[in-house]
């Protein structure tokens, strides 16, 4: 590989920016933060352009021993590349969203964001198990501070809840990691991905990792930290939380649980299906009755993540690639929706849905963007939301038609709660004078919305750009999973029938088997 340590540089730039921010006043700090994130965006673009699609699995590898066997080991495959790209794409938007909104302790605020960027890129590029763990857990701290210091009225409770949930999961994961390093004799992630752990041990390891990732995702019922965290976080905090931090859970499944413990993954697939189905239906219904815009979108995130998890555990290409696309799309769309909420929150300082109405009259450009992102969230074909959802559900259909059916009801419920939100906020008459007086988007807000809108449409119309880099990696993962892949419930049988009695018996047995599987899934 080229010797230039571009990944380290991408980690370093925000870190240097963070130090500079701490020393600067508000105006200087936000400028430094913007420049630092834009530099990382450019580096990210260089990274993508230099990434060889179809080349070696791990690229841009760096390696340095630090101390006592703890290693600085970086490298990315296509999956990591896409998530890093999402991170560097969203960061400048976050800085833009904070531009006027953050007044107190601005230097520290931007420093926190920049540190978080370093840690997020670190998570996706770490090739050493413990390096990953540090990045993964340390990533909580800036977010914790952002909610706790710059959040809303109930910020202490929200940050505490956020912290408690995520900590709980990570302790178990750390123990599992130690056991794995002992067993395999290495903390090198690519090696571990090919290591065949004993099947009985996989069960416990899988559960330990699951505890951490399920919270991060978040999967039902460990999701209750998310609505509170979102509601209390400042706009940019919500954007990055929904946009990138939630993807760490999915990334964890795809990088660790699936390739390292394929048999356990197959064994626990019914558990994943059950929790995901519950997430899709229950949190969608909850979203339907929310009065707070951010809470509504937060609950919708849980529902979307439910479709990610079923796709991941569909054990086929469509499911895996679909889940990756949902993660990318949700990063853009949920980020954009929180941004859209932020735009009107900045004007009226309330997230109460009833305080709005008739925005289409005084904010037509805003209404247009909001409509686009609403439709993307609903999964309208032609937007990014559709492709991932479609592939993911198609993938899981091959495993179980029940799971696919229940999860596909998400498209009905999703349409219901999003359009209900849109109708109350944007349509209708102008009920309140202050709402009616709100100005339309300004230049800064246009500059944030346009790239997001363009990306959403691009991913919807020509997703190949995003499918191509990960195709080989997903294929490799799919091949690794092939040995453990459970049998689907479809079991197509052609009309040309062997002797009737034998078929009959066989048919009964199969029916019985697949029924039992469904019981498990429920």
């Amino acid at each position: 590989m080229s010797g230039f340590p571009i990944l380290s540089l991408m980690l370093l730039v925000p870190l240097v920016g963070a130090v500079a921010c701490l020393l600067a006043n508000r105006e200087a700090a936000r400028m430094i933060a913007l420049v630092a994130t834009l530099v990382d965006l450019v580096l990210g673009a260089v990274l993508w352009s230099r990434y060889q699609i179809g080349g070696p699995q791990w690229q841009f590898q760096e390696h340095a021993s630090v101390f006592a066997g703890f290693e600085w080991k970086l490298g990315i495959d296509g999956i990591a590349l896409l998530l890093i790209a999402l991170t560097v794409f969203l960061m400048p938007v976050c800085i833009g969203a904070s531009w006027n909104a953050i007044e107190k302790r601005a230097g520290e605020y931007y420093a926190n964001f920049l540190v978080m960027e370093t840690l997020m890129i670190g998570v996706f590029s770490a090739q050493d198990l413990f390096l990953f763990y540090i990045m993964f857990e340390a990533g909580l701290i800036p977010m914790y501070l952002i909610i706790g210091i710059w959040g809303g009225a109930d910020r202490i409770y929200a940050s505490y809840k956020f912290f408690l949930y995520t900590l709980l999961g990570s302790v178990l994961m750390l123990i599992a990691m130690m056991w794995m390093v002992n067993e395999a004799g290495t903390s090198d992630i690519p090696t571990l991905m090919a290591y065949n752990f004993p099947v009985h041990a996989q069960t416990w390891l899988w559960l330990a990792f699951f505890a951490s990732f399920a919270v991060k995702m978040p999967m039902w019922p460990t999701h209750t930290w998310l609505p509170d965290a979102h509601v209390q976080a400042p706009t940019a905090g919500s954007v990055i939380l929904a946009g990138v931090l939630l993807k760490m859970g999915g990334y964890g499944f795809i990088r660790f649980s699936l390739p390292m413990f394929p048999e356990a993954s197959a064994q626990f697939a019914p558990l994943i299906y059950g929790l995901s189905m519950a997430a899709v239906v229950i949190t969608s219904l909850i979203a339907l009755v929310q009065h707070d815009m951010k809470k509504l979108i937060a609950y919708s995130s849980v529902a979307h993540m439910g479709i990610v998890t079923v796709g991941l555990f569909a054990f086929n290409r469509q499911g895996l690639e679909g889940s990756m696309l949902i993660m990318l799309s949700h990063g853009l769309v949920a980020g954009a929706l929180f941004l859209a909420v932020g735009v009107i929150y900045d004007r009226l300082h309330t997230r109460e849905i009833d305080r709005y109405g008739g925005l289409a009259i005084n904010m037509p450009a805003y209404a247009l963007f909001f409509m686009l992102f609403t439709m993307a969230s609903v999964g309208l074909p032609g937007t990014s939301g559709f492709v991932g959802e479609f592939l993911s559900l198609m993938g899981v259909y091959a495993q179980s038609s029940w799971v696919a059916l229940v999860c596909t009801t998400g498209i009905i419920l999703g349409a219901a709660y999003m359009l209900y939100l849109y109708r109350r906020v944007v349509f209708g008459v102008q009920k309140h004078a202050d709402t009616a007086a709100m100005p339309d988007l300004d230049k800064r807000e246009w500059a944030m919305m346009i790239p997001l809108a363009a990306a959403v449409l691009w991913m919807g119309i020509f997703p190949e750009t995003f499918l191509a880099p990960m195709r080989k990696d997903i294929a490799a993962l799919d091949a690794r999973l092939a040995q453990a892949r459970p049998k689907g419930d479809a079991d197509l049988r052609l009309a040309a029938i062997p002797p009737a009695s034998a078929t009959h018996e066989h048919g009964d047995a199969m029916e019985h088997g697949s029924k039992a599987e469904h019981e498990g899934a429920r």
């Binding site: 703890f70 340390a138 460990t222 109708r423």
Partner: protein
């Protein structure tokens, strides 16, 4: 550049220019761009269609762009043109172009015209993508795209709560159908390993008789797939059960109702079944299901149509009912007849809607037929246009001689249902005959209430407002008010003078009238005669055998539609002209039945009680009880209580301490990890 690319993408381009650039280019240019693009698209569509009519054109597929490739799944954006598509192209672009033109007059006073025209063009684009789809997913793209446009246009007057509610209802109810469609696509991919329509249709016969596990049970493969896909069609085409959004969709401006909710979008389901007809042919059970649903809808909607008083809702139920005809035609295997009825219906139903729009325009936005009456002499051109539409929909014509458009297509459907000869198709035939009686009745009822009798305008609030405003204006401008202030005219007009619509609205009415009169006569040879296979060229499953059997049906079968048409006309005449007191007496006598029909069989009430309220209630329970009452209480809050009791740490978790707290945490973390590794 292939003409099909222009046909499809010109409307998109125009929509973008008008929608995004209206503030730069102004209102009139925005309207010119969209209308111009549609007329260009329309001209090209006819140029595409005519070679298919003469049999000289071959099916082709124009690739546009790779879309998704994931494992074995591979599909692209592509435009398919064959006979079936060409028929739809002509229908869509012709009606759309005329509706664009009509909207110049109808929407003249609206401040948001560029947005309206942009939506119309966007809709047209999505509909064209639907009918040119070469794979199921692109069809689904068009399917959802027209759904979006429909949502936007129903809710076009977004200040009206009822319009917003109707728009949302349309989208969500359609999504229920889409659930079926999506599951159908998943299943199809699972079975055939492809979503390419030609590949699926080619492989479908080989799958006949195979079985598949679905939801824990074993079913015939093709039956499962076809019924799932058909559920999608039921949503889009407002079939019984998923029809509730269509009448409410009348909240949208009337040109929208004509284009989307009569001529094009709602026929997408019929198109889908015809497009996939070789697939449906492999499953007799699915076809029976299609027949039953079609016949039931046909009957249901016709009964409700007889009681409604809103002119647009009568036509909406009529549309619903006619779609039922198309579906049971497809169900009995007469796909050519289904498409033919779709084709003729597009013209006469768009005509009826636009005519109704002209009436509403003349009557100052009054839509209740109880406040019409006697309009024949005031708006004669509109009257004649509506008359052509009514003659077409009621199927006026003489067997073996000539008739209006609906005469050819509806009679063909009824004959096919009879000729098919199964028990279910025979039942569909009788249901269809009865529905034809009701069709004739409600159509003539509409005509008589609107155009005949004495004016009943003075009871209309809209008219009172209009007259009041006009008089106020007159008083100030001219200083005289010779009609008096109480509007106590004794002719029931309240002193109001309806005006005939402008030329931009009358021209589309005239052109559609030509379609309503001639479409059947001119095209029935191609669509449904023996040798129709030459025309369709395999783009749908055309059964020469069934066509032959249709000619063999008994004479009374051929004459029955004519008989019921006359009967309906006579009943309507007696009830609304000869003896106007009769309807009130009759509805009084059959009160419960009347209320049942007036309230549309209580579907809305049922769905509210069974789905909407429980969904909301469940949401609240899951939130307040599930999340807060159980998960939080025993999860984080319980833990917090424990911690707080022992050390009161929560009190110290104030923002000032957070930095140091976090630092401690990080140091601890790194320390712990280092220890583990270095040990």
């Amino acid at each position: 550049m292939h003409p099909i690319q222009l046909i499809v993408f010109l409307p998109l381009l125009a929509a973008l220019v008008a929608g995004l650039g209206a503030r730069l280019i102004g209102k009139v240019p925005a309207k010119l761009v969209t209308t111009g693009a549609l007329f260009a698209s329309c001209a090209l569509s006819w140029m595409t269609f005519l070679p298919f009519l003469s049999g000289s054109a071959e099916a082709s597929v124009v690739p546009v762009l790779q879309w998704v490739r994931s494992g074995d799944l591979d599909f692209s954006w592509a435009l398919r043109v064959d006979t079936l598509t060409a028929v739809m192209l002509v229908v869509i672009t012709s009606v759309s172009a005329l509706v664009h033109l009509y909207s110049w007059g109808y929407m003249d006073e609206d401040p948001d015209q560029p947005r309206f025209f942009a939506y119309l063009s966007l809709f047209t684009f999505a509909m064209l993508m639907l009918v040119t789809a070469d794979n199921l997913v692109q069809m689904f793209f068009g399917w959802e795209g027209v759904g979006l446009a429909s949502y936007l246009l129903i809710g076009f007057w977004f200040r009206k709560p009822s319009a917003n509610a109707a728009a949302m209802k349309a989208f969500v109810v359609n999504r229920v159908g889409d659930l079926g469609f999506m599951m159908g696509i998943f299943g199809t991919f699972l079975v055939f390993g492809t979503v390419s329509i030609p590949a699926i249709l080619a492989a479908a016969p080989g799958m006949a008789g195979s079985t598949i596990g679905f939801l824990g049970y074993r079913f015939d493969t093709m039956t499962v797939l076809c019924i799932l896909l058909f559920i999608g069609a039921m949503g889009k085409s407002a079939q019984l059960g998923l029809h509730t959004w269509l009448p409410d969709a009348m909240e949208g401006p009337t040109p929208v109702s004509a284009l989307i909710h009569a001529a094009t979008m709602v026929t997408a389901g019929v198109f889908m079944v015809c497009r996939l007809s070789p697939m449906f042919e492999t499953s007799p059970v699915a076809l029976s299901f299609v027949t039953a649903v079609g016949a039931a809808t046909c009957f249901f909607a016709a009964t409700v149509g007889t009681t409604q008083t809103d002119i647009k809702r009568v036509i909406a139920y009529s549309t619903c009912s006619q779609l039922g005809y198309m579906f049971f035609a497809a169900g009995v295997g007469a796909y050519g007849a289904a498409m033919f009825h779709l084709f003729t219906h597009a013209f006469f139903k768009a005509l009826l809607f636009l005519g109704a729009g002209s009436v509403i325009h003349a009557m100052h936005h009054e839509q209740d037929m109880r406040y019409y009456g006697g309009l024949r002499k005031h708006i004669p051109l509109t009257f004649w246009a509506m008359m052509m539409g009514t003659l077409a929909i009621t199927g006026v014509g003489i067997v073996d001689v000539a008739g209006f458009a609906g005469f050819y297509s509806k009679d063909a459907i009824l004959e096919a249902a009879y000729a098919r000869g199964t028990g279910l198709s025979q039942m569909a035939f009788f249901v269809g005959i009865f529905a034809a009686l009701l069709t004739s009745f409600y159509s003539w009822r509409l005509m008589f209430l609107t155009f005949w009798g004495k004016p009943r305008w003075e009871q209309s609030e809209h008219i009172q407002h209009a007259v009041h405003d006009a008089h106020g204006h007159d008083d100030h401008a001219h200083g005289h008010g010779d009609h008096g202030h109480g509007h106590a005219s004794h002719d029931g007009t309240a002193g109001y003078h309806p005006h005939e619509s402008p030329i931009s609205m009358l021209l589309p009415l005239a052109l559609l009238s030509v379609g309503a009169v001639l479409a059947g006569f001119v095209f029935h040879h191609a669509f449904i005669s023996e040798g129709g296979g030459e025309f369709w060229k395999g783009s749908l499953a055309f059964s020469e055998h069934l066509i032959h059997a249709m000619h063999e049906v008994p004479e009374w079968v051929k004459w029955a539609p004519f008989g019921v048409m006359l009967t309906g006309l006579v009943i309507a005449y007696v009830a609304y002209i000869a003896n106007p007191g009769l309807p009130a007496a009759f509805t009084g006598a059959v009160g419960p039945l009347y209320r049942f029909l007036l309230n549309k069989w209580y579907f809305d009430e049922l769905y509210t009680a069974v789905f909407i309220r429980p969904a909301m209630a469940l949401g609240r329970v899951f939130w307040k009880v599930g999340d807060i009452g159980i998960i939080d209480r025993f999860g984080p809050n319980g833990a917090a209580a424990l911690v707080a009791r022992s050390s009161r740490i929560a009190v110290r978790l104030q923002s000032g301490y957070l930095n140091s707290y976090a630092l401690v945490m990080l140091v601890g973390l790194v320390g712990a990890v280092s220890w583990v590794i270095a040990r």
